[in-house]
Each structure stands twice: as C-alpha cells, then as structure tokens.
C-alpha cells in the first residue's frame, strides 16, 4: 500500500517550500502519492448583492479554472516531471477545514503546509489558516518553516 501526502498550496513561495519538503519525504518513503490542494477562501455566510449572486456560479467556475491553471496544474506537472505520482485538487471553503477533510477522505498519512507569511491584524484576531489547521486537524500535520 502506498502512502499519501496532502500538500497545501497557496500560490506563493511558502507553498513551494511545502512541496519541496513533501518531495523529500516521498523519496524517503518510496511509493508515495502527492496530492496538491489549493483552497479558494469562501464562506457560505458572507453577504452578497443580487448581482453577485446571479454571477456566482460563473465566477466559481472561473476561480476554479484560474487556480488550476496558475497554481495546481504547474505544481502537479513539475512533480510528475520529477518522477512523482501526483494529483491536484481545487476547492472552495475554509483552508484549515478542507485540507483536513481532503486528507481524511483520501486516507492520507500527513498534511504538509508551510508557515504562512500572512501577518497583521486579521491573523492576530482570527489566527492564520496554518495555526487553525494545526489546532483542528485529525491527521498529522507538518509545518515547514
């Protein structure tokens, strides 16, 4: 049975650090599938105008397509080029919730994320996605510095 590692991507340098670490792990494990996950932050409890609602389905498709083509597909292609077995997932919702739920669904052995570079008032108030993931995850989490 092969191992599975879920990697949290965020389209920035910190996501790449997570990928690099996951690659190292996968090499050590041997047969290991890498699942690159990108979460588009979205809340079902936000307030929207009627026009935004009308356009929502279209926007969602566009957001998913953009995340796939700009972040996930290049990352997966690069992993495959390096000889890894890899796959990408794009989802809408809460980052911490979804990284964990994908890992649970896939039966992954661990989640690799990078320490986020986000700072400021909002993250002090609500905590960063990484901190939330570490606190709530039911799958082992590795946070890359």
């Amino acid at each position: 049975m092969s191992a599975k590692i879920v990697i949290g991507l965020d389209g920035s340098g910190s996501g790449e650090r997570a990928v690099a670490y996951a690659k190292k792990q996968a090499k050590q494990i041997g047969t290991c599938e890498l699942i690159a996950v990108y979460v588009i932050e979205w809340s079902p409890y936000s307030f929207q105008t009627p026009e935004e609602n009308e356009q929502r389905h279209k926007r969602r498709e566009e957001e998913t397509a953009a995340a796939s083509s700009r972040v996930v597909t290049p990352a997966v292609d690069a992993l495959k080029a390096d000889g890894f077995s890899a796959r990408g997932v794009v989802k809408h919702g809460d980052v911490a919730d979804l990284l964990n739920s994908v890992a649970v669904e896939e039966g992954a052995d661990q989640i690799v994320v990078a320490r986020t570079s986000e700072g400021g008032f909002a993250s002090r108030l609500f905590g960063s996605s990484t901190a939330n993931l570490v606190m709530t995850a039911t799958v082992p989490v590795t946070v890359v510095g």
Partner: protein, 515 residues
C-alpha cells in the same frame, strides 16, 4: 461642488426669506403637483373599495391569498420552520457545492431588499393610525405572508433560466411564462409582461422614490430643513456610481454594513424594552386590547386594519414577487428548500423587526392618550393619532427611540440612509430584470433603465410623502395582483414538490451533511 452644496444648505437653513430657498421650494412643489396628478388615477384604481363597502379589494386579495396558501400547504410556516433554520445553517448543503450561492446568502440578499424603511417608517405609519393594536395584525400579516413567500420563491427557483455562461435569471416573469406553458394554461406570457411593467413601476416607486423620500426626511430632521432635490441628487450620484459605474465596492460595503445596522437596530430596541420591562406587560395589553376594539383609532377599526395590512405587505413584500427574483440564484437541486428558507423572511422582517419598532413606539408614550376616556387623541386632520411633537413616519420611530437613548436618532439616520440605499440597489436589480425581460438584454437597454432609475431618486426625494407613498403602494400591490394570480395556477406544482421533498426528507433520502 462641495462648497456650493454647503452654501445651499446654509442658505436654505437660514430661513424662508432666502430667495434661493423659495426657488427650491417651488421646484419641490412643482415636482409634487405633477407627480400627484399623473399617478392619481392608477392609485385610486388599486385602492378602490369593494362595491358597497369601504374595504379596498387589494387588501382582501392579499389576505385571502396568504390564508389560502397557509391552509393549502398545511401550515408550512409552522411545520417547516425548524427545517428552514437547518437549511440556512447549511446542515443540508452538499460540500461539493461550496463556492456557489448558499441558502444563507440568498436569504440575506433578499432580506437586505426588504428590511429597511418598511420596518422603521411603515410601522410608525401603521401604529400612528391604528394605535398599538396595529402590532397584533401586523404580526398576523407577517405569519400568513410566510406562506405566500414560500410559494413564490419555490417557483422562482424551479422555473429560473440557467444560461450557458453560468449566470441565472429567475422571478415571476419566468414562472409565469414557463410554468403556465408546462401546465398547458394559456396567458402566461401576457401575465409575465404585465407583471414586468408593474415591477418596473414598483422598483421606481417603493424601491426607489419612497426610500429617497424617507432618507431625505430623516437627514433633514437632523440638519434642519433644506430642499429635497439636494439629497436626491447626492443619492442619485451614488446609485449611479454603483449600478452604472459598476463600483462594486460601494455595494459590497453596504451589503456588509446593513446587516450590522439591522442587528444594532433590533439590539437597541431590545435594550429599550428591557429598560422599560415594567411597561412590556402593559404594552402587550394595549396591543391585544387595541387589536379587537380599535381604542378609538383614526379612521375607525377597519381603516386602521387596512393601513396595517398595507404596511405589512409593503414591508415584507410577501406575494409581491420581488423575493422570487432575489432567491432564484441559490444553488440547490430542490426548489422547495429555497421556498422553506424564504419563509423566514417575513418572519424576521415583520414578526420580529416590525414588532420591535411597534413596541418601542407604544412604550415611548409619544402617542397622546386622552386621560378622561383612555382613548387616543386624533390630530387636527383626524387622519392619525396625535403625537408628542407632532411627528409621524420615520420621525415618530426616531423620537420613540430617543426617549430611550437621546443619541439614537443619529444612528437611526445613518441606518435609514443605508437601508434606503441597499433597498434601492436591490430594487434596481429587480426592476432591471423586469426591464430586460421586456426589452431584451443589452448594454444600451440596461443603461436606459438605470438612468431612469437615477432620475426617479431625485423625484422621490423632492416629492412630499403623501403622493409618493400612495404611488409606491399602488405599484407594489399591482405586482401582487398579477403575481398571486399566477401563484393560484401554479400552486399544485409547489404542493407536488413539497410532498415529494418532505417524504424524502423523512425517509432519509435527503442527506444531512452537518450535524
């Protein structure tokens, strides 16, 4: 520009001797007279009484429809209430649909179109005429209205148009044309066209002029009197920036601030009620006693009742069809779920928020009671109850809240302006949907409507309350006439959907994702 506006303000506030202010008044007056003359016949038709009675047929029409839907769907507003809350919380939302419009979003979007001046000014008008007893009938109207809303919003989702580019369009015009065709009933297209015409008028009236008018009244009660067209032009420019200029940030800021204002409003009302908790029992006594006796209210018992049902319908828009447009964007495979969610709208709008306003007004003691008879004293014209300071409409609400917190009129003024603005944005969308249904989609046709909409903001702010409120009511009720006709023909469709959904919910076929 800013300097000019300030000078204008100062001049008009300085006194009536100013030539400028006199000129301004004549502009307002001219707008007023023309407007009243043009809309008069339409208004008197909509509010004409049943032959031989003084009861307007339109009020009967709304009450009978809401009662009939309540019975036909087996008191769905009570049976389905708990499930509605679960749906809004997202307990039944498929995680794979994340990123689509949720039930919560569809509900709050629709609410921001209805919660507003109807709850603040409309209730004050009703209580000012009908006394505290008006509240009881308002709650009844809200509870019954939940069934009308359920019917129209289910149909709105069921017969919406989903376009290839992923956008959706829904509303009464679509269920009229598609639903009637599906059932083999002729005339759906004609109804849809008539509805669209009234929807455009409703958007310009209640969704626009009434809002601009009351926003101006509220602002000028704080700054001192100045001509309405000034407020009108400022409002029109901001509305223009959003709906034509596409400055989404203004709209989205409003969408975020409005719910906060709503909570603040209800919260303050609750605090005032708590501070006067010794009077709450008395207030409810007044409400129940007044509900059946009339307590010598203006225009008699029937007159007061008519006003209450009018104001309730104007506030929650149940049966009007506007909500069906707003709710139709939700992502769901089951149209009935949106119907269930939408029935919370009259509950929140009328049963909760309107009742709060009515209680605060009752407790404030602003309605003058004759100590000898215990009845309310009528004003000089005999068309409303005398109030301390001779206030009515939104000013009555403002004065009532001020008895609890003297600073509240300032907060209320901001709230009224924001509520008015968000209602205008919502109604500009409803009106636009009707407009494009009639004239087709396209940049130029849409722009024409948007410009007309902005012009009416100025007219609304300049006209006096009487003609504006009459026209706004008439247009919105005309929508209800057409919409409810369609609902009668299509209600078996809703019943079939409801029975199927409820049985699948019971059997566990409808999955709950969150516990």
């Amino acid at each position: 520009m800013k300097k000019l506006a300030l000078t204008t303000l100062a001049l008009s506030a300085a006194g009536s001797t100013s030539v400028f202010a006199q000129e301004a008044r004549t502009i307002d007056q001219a707008v007023n007279e023309t407007f009243a003359a043009v809309t008069g016949p339409f208004v008197s038709f909509i509010f004409s009484p049943f032959p031989g009675t003084s009861f307007p047929w339109i009020v009967m029409w709304l009450v009978i429809a809401a009662s009939l839907f309540t019975v036909y769907f087996g008191f769905i507003q009570i049976r389905g209430f708990k499930h509605s809350i679960q749906l809004v919380k997202g307990d039944y939302a498929d995680p794979n649909d994340a990123g689509e419009v949720s039930h919560f979003q569809a509900l709050t979007t629709a609410l921001s179109g209805t919660v507003g001046l109807g709850n603040i000014a409309g209730v004050a008008v009703a209580v000012g005429i009908g006394g505290p007893g008006a509240t009881f009938w308002m709650i009844m109207a809200g509870l019954l209205g939940m069934a009308s809303k359920f019917t129209e919003c289910t149909l709105g989702v069921k017969y919406r148009n989903e376009y290839e580019d992923g956008t959706v369009s829904g509303g009464p015009m679509y269920y009229m044309s598609k639903g009637f065709a599906e059932r083999g009933v002729p005339g759906g297209k004609i109804l849809a066209v008539v509805f669209s015409i009234f929807c455009i008028l409703g958007a310009l009236g209640g969704g626009n002029m009434f809002q601009a008018n009351q926003a101006h009244a509220q602002i000028s009660s704080i700054t001192g009197a100045y001509p309405g067209w000034i407020t009108g032009i400022v409002f029109a420019l901001v509305v223009y920036a959003v709906i034509v200029g596409g400055i989404k940030s203004i709209a989205s800021v409003t969408e975020k601030v409005v719910p906060f204002m709503g909570v603040l409003y209800v919260g303050t009302a609750l605090v005032i009620l708590l501070l006067n908790f010794d009077k709450i029992g008395w207030a409810f006594g007044q409400i129940f006693e007044g509900a059946f006796t009339g307590l010598g209210v203006a225009g008699g018992f029937v007159g007061a009742l008519i006003q209450v049902f009018k104001r309730a319908a104007f506030s929650n828009e149940a049966g009007v069809g506007s909500a069906a447009i707003a709710h139709s964007a939700v992502r769901t495979k089951e149209p009935i779920t949106e119907g269930l969610v939408s029935l919370l709208e009259p509950f929140i709008d009328t049963v909760v928020i309107c009742t709060m306003t009515a209680l605060v007004i009752t407790i404030s003691g602003l309605l003058i009671v004759d100590p000898a008879t215990g009845n309310f004293v009528l004003n000089a014209d005999g068309n409303a109850i005398s109030t301390v300071g001779d206030v009515s409409g939104v000013s009555l609400t403002s004065a009532a809240f001020a008895t609890g917190f003297s600073w509240f009129p300032y907060v209320l003024a901001i709230a009224v302006v924001l509520f008015a603005f968000s209602t205008m944005i919502s109604w500009s969308y409803y009106g636009l949907k009707a407009w494009t249904y009639l004239f087709g989609e396209g940049k130029t046709t849409e722009l024409v409507f948007k410009i007309i909409f902005c012009v009416f903001v100025v007219i609304g702010a300049s006209a006096s309350l009487g003609p504006v409120i009459d026209f706004s009511d008439a247009a919105i009720f005309a929508m209800a006439v057409v919409n409810i006709t369609a609902l009668y023909f299509l209600m078996p469709v809703v019943k079939k959907e409801m029975n199927s959904y409820m049985s699948r919910l019971k059997s566990g076929e409808i999955k709950r994702f969150k516990h």
